[in-house]
Each structure stands twice: as structure tokens, then as C-alpha cells.
């Protein structure tokens, strides 16, 4: 009898052990072989990274992996990463802006997730659920040529922020639904030293992404056509750019010197009624220290153009760097997986991050607390992954667009002349890169 019980107990233990191994995956178990490994990543001085920084001790305690991070301003990040990766530096994780994914993938800086899975099957959480990410985000930020490199980590959408009181005083109880509405609103709101709308347009990525491209897509235009020739002179692109030019009279003077800070501040101080800015600026606008319109702030999706709602899209994925050694690769993936997992998503959002997971935004508590969530989720239902082309030549194109785009806005060149010039110079760059003689696949 005792023998029988002993055998039974033994059997039960065996069953328990085997299910323990095959069934419940745990971060602690998976990380055991990589205890003490040091991994390195770049952080930007933005809310999402501060959120992760606050959550890090928990990860380090559970895994024994040490995460080294360096704060770098966005404008120098690409330069720093490219230098590091081209000279076998010490970064083990790449922070990839959506416009860099082509460069990083083509230059072989980052490892596809499937390759990692083959090499380290045990570190992958079976409940991770890639399909929970917004397909647009995963596709735009982390995927290049059909290969997935990393999950979306820090996510943005262009949103319309507006001053409820100013709109109400002008007789509008709801935000503009289309760009034509916005123009009509702006015309009425521009008076007595106040302006209807502000569009951050300073030379740099601000001009090329926030200002120029924002007025191309919703009108049905695009930078390039299917053959990668300039499409800026198409009637649709021209309509959008002319619309932008018309709108300038409702913007504060000196708009070509407005960067994000100036545009957000103009709304926060009650000088302009509406701006289209990244979702991440919500926290600045509701902070009483930096904003006078805390309670009067309205948030809506960006207006629709003739071709629908195609809001600005931006964000970063995290990907494992090829230059890392095997232990670092595994440890890096464990970190990325943890930072973008379902379990940490809610905490991440509550600490100021913007998760790319659909499930977390179904939480009614979060929606109540963060009014920007519904318009943001709506923006992510549709959008153009190639809002800005993501191939390696984009930085060059961005510089051209930024230079000529600001010239266009101040009237140094007409919209048509400017579009021709950008088109010509862009085609020059793409021709040199080998897109027209079939040396390079037309992927953007």
C-alpha cells in the first residue's frame, strides 16, 4: 500500500514536472542561461522610454540580464546607430524608426525574428501573440520586404488637437471632419492675433514628414509612382500642396521656423486653435505646467482628405542587432519580448508609453483615463505604411524635400516649380541608387 502510494506520488511528480517544462513558459526559466549578460540599447528622451526605464528593475531582477541604455536625441540617433553598426560597436539592440527599417534591413544590421526563433526556440514566449499588434504598425515599423524584424515599441499617430473653447466661440461644437472643414474653421478662427491652425514646418524631418507628406496622401497623391518616378506633379499631389499653401494665411507668421515645440506651445498658450501633431504630445498639452488649456483640450483623428483619412504615421520597433554575440542576441530578444508583451502593456501605457497592442486598448479604464486612445486607435485602422518611403535613400530624399519644401512655403519657388525641383533631384538620387536599371527592387 505504501509502495503504491509512493509510486503514485512519483508518477504525479513526473506529470507535474513534464507539464511544467512543456506547458508554462516563464521569463525566469527562459533567461537562466543568459544570466549576467549585458545588452545595450539607445533610448530617446520621450515618455515611452521613461516608462520602460521605470519598469526595467523588474526585468533585471527576474532575468539577471543587465540592460545598458544611453539617452540620445532623436536627431542624432540614426547617425549614431549607423556608425555603431558599421564598425562593430557595442549596441545589441537596434531602435528602428519606421523610415530606417529599409536601411537597417538592407545593410544587414538586424536579425529577422524567424531566424532568432530557429536559433533560440526556448526563449520565445508561446503566449506572445504577434497577431495582437495593430497590423498597420507591425507592417510599417517592423517589416521590410515581407520579413518581420521587430515588434512595434514606441508608436505614434498624427492627431488633431484643438482648443474646444475657441471652436465653440466660433460656433463649432465638433472638430473638423475633413481638411476643407478645417480650412473653413481656420478662416473664421484667425482674427485678433489668434490663428486657426499651425503646422510645424521647420527644415528637417519636421518639414518633410510633418508638413509636406501630410498634405500629399489625403488628396490621393504620393511622392513616388509605381515605377519610382516622382508623382508630385500629379493633379492629386498638386492639389494637396496647393491646399497647404492656401492654408498658410491662417497660420502664425514664421511658420517655417516652427518645430514641434513651437506648434504645441502655440496651442497650449491659446494662440492657435488647432494643430495636427503626434499623439505623444498629449501629455505636454494636459500638463498644467506647460499648458493653459488642460480642460479645454480636444483630441480627434486627423481630418479626411478627398482620398480618405491618411494620417501621419510614425514609430519605432526594437530589433536584435546582428553584431551582438549569441548570448546577447538571446538576452536582447528576451528584453524586447518582455517590453512589448501583453502582460506589460497596461503598465507601459499607465507609465506614459504607447503600446502597439490592440488588446490593451480594450480596457475601459485606460480609455477613460486617456482620451487620445480612441482617435489614435481609429487612425491605426487605416493608413499608409509608406507615408514616408522606408528605403535606405529616404534620409537623402528627406533633406531635399525639407530644403525645397520650406522654400515653397515662403514663396521663394512656386508649388509647381518646387515640385519639379524635388522630383528631379529625387529621381537623381534614386537613379544613382540603381532603382531604374533593375539593380534594386522597388520596395518602399
Amino acid at each position: 500500500m505504501t509502495r503504491f502510494i509512493r509510486q503514485l506520488a512519483l508518477g504525479a511528480t513526473c506529470v507535474a514536472l513534464s507539464t511544467g517544462i512543456a506547458g508554462a513558459w516563464s521569463l525566469e526559466e527562459a533567461a537562466k542561461p543568459y544570466k549576467g549578460t549585458q545588452i545595450s540599447v539607445i533610448f530617446l528622451d520621450r515618455p515611452g522610454y521613461h516608462a520602460i526605464e521605470k519598469m526595467l528593475p523588474d526585468f533585471e531582477k527576474k532575468t539577471g540580464i543587465k540592460v545598458n541604455y544611453e539617452w540620445v536625441p532623436y536627431e542624432s540617433t540614426l547617425e549614431k546607430e549607423v556608425r555603431d553598426f558599421s564598425s562593430n560597436g557595442d549596441l545589441t539592440i537596434a531602435l528602428v524608426d519606421l523610415v530606417w527599417i529599409g536601411t537597417f534591413a538592407d545593410s544587414d544590421y538586424i536579425v529577422p525574428i524567424d531566424d532568432l526563433k530557429k536559433q533560440f526556440p526556448n526563449i520565445f514566449d508561446p503566449n506572445y501573440d504577434m497577431s495582437d499588434f495593430f497590423p498597420l504598425l507591425l507592417n510599417a515599423f517592423g517589416t521590410w520586404n515581407g520579413v518581420v524584424y521587430g515588434p512595434p515599441f514606441d508608436n505614434y499617430s498624427g492627431l488633431l488637437f484643438y482648443n474646444k473653447k475657441m471652436l465653440k466661440d466660433a460656433g463649432y461644437d465638433k472638430p473638423p471632419e475633413t481638411w476643407d472643414d478645417l480650412k473653413a474653421y481656420a478662416a473664421k478662427l484667425t482674427k485678433e492675433g489668434k490663428y486657426g491652425y499651425a503646422l510645424q514646418s521647420r527644415r528637417g524631418e519636421t518639414q518633410s514628414c510633418d508638413s509636406f507628406m501630410r498634405f500629399i496622401w489625403p488628396w490621393g497623391g504620393s511622392l513616388l509612382d509605381a515605377k519610382f518616378k516622382s508623382n508630385l506633379t500629379s493633379p492629386e499631389s498638386q492639389a494637396g500642396l496647393n491646399f497647404r499653401q492656401d492654408l498658410i494665411k491662417y497660420m502664425p507668421p514664421g511658420i517655417v521656423d516652427f518645430d514641434h515645440a513651437e506648434a504645441v506651445n502655440a496651442l497650449a498658450q491659446g494662440q492657435v486653435a488647432m494643430i495636427t501633431e503626434w499623439s505623444a504630445f498629449y501629455s505636454t498639452l494636459v500638463d498644467p505646467k506647460s499648458s493653459k488649456i488642460v480642460d479645454g483640450l480636444g483630441v480627434a483623428p486627423e481630418p479626411k482628405g478627398p482620398a480618405g483619412r491618411k494620417p501621419a504615421l510614425g514609430g519605432f520597433c526594437l530589433a536584435v542587432a546582428k553584431q551582438a554575440n549569441d548570448n546577447q542576441k538571446a538576452a536582447s530578444w528576451l528584453f524586447i519580448q518582455w517590453a512589448t508583451s501583453k502582460e506589460t502593456a497596461k503598465e507601459y501605457v499607465e507609465k506614459g508609453g504607447v503600446s502597439g497592442r490592440q488588446s490593451v486598448y480594450k480596457d475601459p479604464e485606460l480609455i477613460k483615463k486617456y482620451p487620445f486612445i480612441p482617435p489614435m486607435v481609429e487612425s491605426w485602422q487605416q493608413g499608409v505604411p509608406e507615408f514616408r518611403p522606408r528605403f535606405a535613400e529616404w534620409p537623402q530624399l528627406s533633406e531635399i524635400v525639407a530644403e525645397v519644401g520650406t522654400n515653397m512655403m515662403i514663396g521663394n519657388v512656386s508649388v509647381k516649380q518646387g515640385s519639379d525641383e524635388i522630383g528631379k533631384r529625387v529621381e537623381d538620387v534614386l537613379s544613382k541608387a540603381g532603382y531604374y536599371d533593375g539593380k534594386k527592387k522597388l520596395a518602399q
Binding site: 521647420r202 517655417v256 521656423d257
Partner: protein, 305 residues
Amino acid sequence: MTTGKKSYSTGAFWFVAPAMMVLLVVGIIPLLFALWTSFQQFILPKVHLKGAFLGIWPIFDAPFVWLSNYRDLLFDESFRNALGRSFLFLIINLPIQVVLGLTIALLLHRPGHEWLKNVTRIALVIPMATTFAVVGLIGRLLFNGDFGINNYFWNLVFGHKLEWLADPNLAFISISIMDCWQWTPFCALVLYSSLTMVPVEIEEAAKLETDKWWHVLHKVQLPFLLPGLTAILILRTADILKMFDVVYIMTRGGPGAATELISIYIQRIGFRSFEQGTASAEAIVLLVITIILSRIYIRFIYREV
């Protein structure tokens, strides 16, 4: 004994060696590497590190194109425009800084008001000691269209505001003003120290001969000013041609290309477009131009007293 070259003991060599080593590592080797790179089609995301020659000279798999980067520069309109803009900036700002600096130096050189002069001398050091990035940030604040102090006074006097940093011409003027603010004191201090080298008895004798100050300046002080002036011209020319930080922070080369000086342009090519080969070629050309200008200054202006 006095003919031929001087010979030095090996001891002297060891005293000079550390300085030479530092110069070699931080100055000469990077320069040679830039020269090397300028002969290659060196697009940063497309090259890979293949090891290092003797442990110090990195080897990348970039294809050699010899002089074609330089040849392309001849036809590159943006490069020419940026270079032209830098020269315009030089021609406008250098004379202003020298003339203002000389005026300040002559005022400081006049006898009396010792206490005030001491304060002035200290105050003159402040702009020079300010980091470039901070000067740029100060510039952004001063010339801010909304709350900048320049616009505040302009508005008081003329009743309207100017868009300093958003208008192409005004933006150029704004960065010029900041450069003059920062570097006029340098000219003033160098020229002032040259003035103190004029022997007192000669200067006093000259002042008894004439009561016209420009006669004294021209005949007596100028010869002593020339070495300092040459130094100013060489240093300021090199500095203005490679001026970067202040402009980058104030306008980032905009609006349009209105303030895109040559070094902003080179940085853009090298670290935004990552065409390091082209950027290196441009930097080498800029270096050659600077050297030629320095030789010209020495040839035509410098005189031993």
C-alpha cells in the same frame, strides 16, 4: 659653427614627442583617413568594417573611385551655392568684426577709467567662453518671433514684429549678428594686446607731433597690429568657413537653404545622406581653400615689426 642647420640633442626630441603624438592621433590620422575616404564611394550603411591595418587604420569594403568624388563636386550646384554662401558670410562678417574689434581696442587703449576698462576686459571674455551650442540657443531665444527680446524692442520702435528666423534674409542676418557678438571680443582682445606692444615713448612722441588719432594709428600703431591682425584673419577665416554649431541650432540651415553654410552642407551629406566619400572630398576642398587664404594673408598682410 653658425652655418648650417641647428642640431638638437635627442633629449629635446623626447620633450617634443608627446605633443607630436597627440597631434598625430587627433589631427593627422583622421585627416589622412578623410583623404583616403574621399577617394572611395563610401556610403556608410553600405560598407562593413573588415578589420584594421596595424590595429589603428580601419579597413572598410568601400569601392575605390579615385577622383570621381572631386569631379562630381565641380558639377554640384548645391555645393557651389553653399560655398558661395560661406564666402558671403565671411566677406560681410570679418570686416565688421575687425573694425568693431579695433574700435574697442583703441578705446581700451586710451588712458583713464581704469576700473571701467577692467570690467570691460572681463566682459569681453564672456561671449568667447560661451559654448557654441549655448550661443545658438541664446540666438534662438533672442530672435524668437513671439517672445524674443529683439522683436520686443523692434515692436516698441516700429510697431510691428519681424520674422527673424523664418525669413531667408533676416535669418542670414541673425546668424551674422550672433557670430559678431561672439567673436568681435576676440578681435578686440588680440588687437588690444598688440597695441600694448607699441613702445610708450614712440607713441607719446607721435602724439606730440600730431593731434589726429588716425595718423598715430596708421604710422605708429599699425605696424605693431599687423601680426595680430594676420592671426585674426587666419583664425577667423578658418572658423567662419567651418562654422557649424550656432547655425545648426539656430536655423538648421533653413529656411530653404538661406543659412546653409558649407559646413552645414557637408554635415548633411556626410551624416544625413551618409555619403562619407563625397563629404570627405568636400571637406578636403574646404581645407585647401582655407590654407590658400591663409597663405595669401601671410603674404600680403603680415610684416615683422
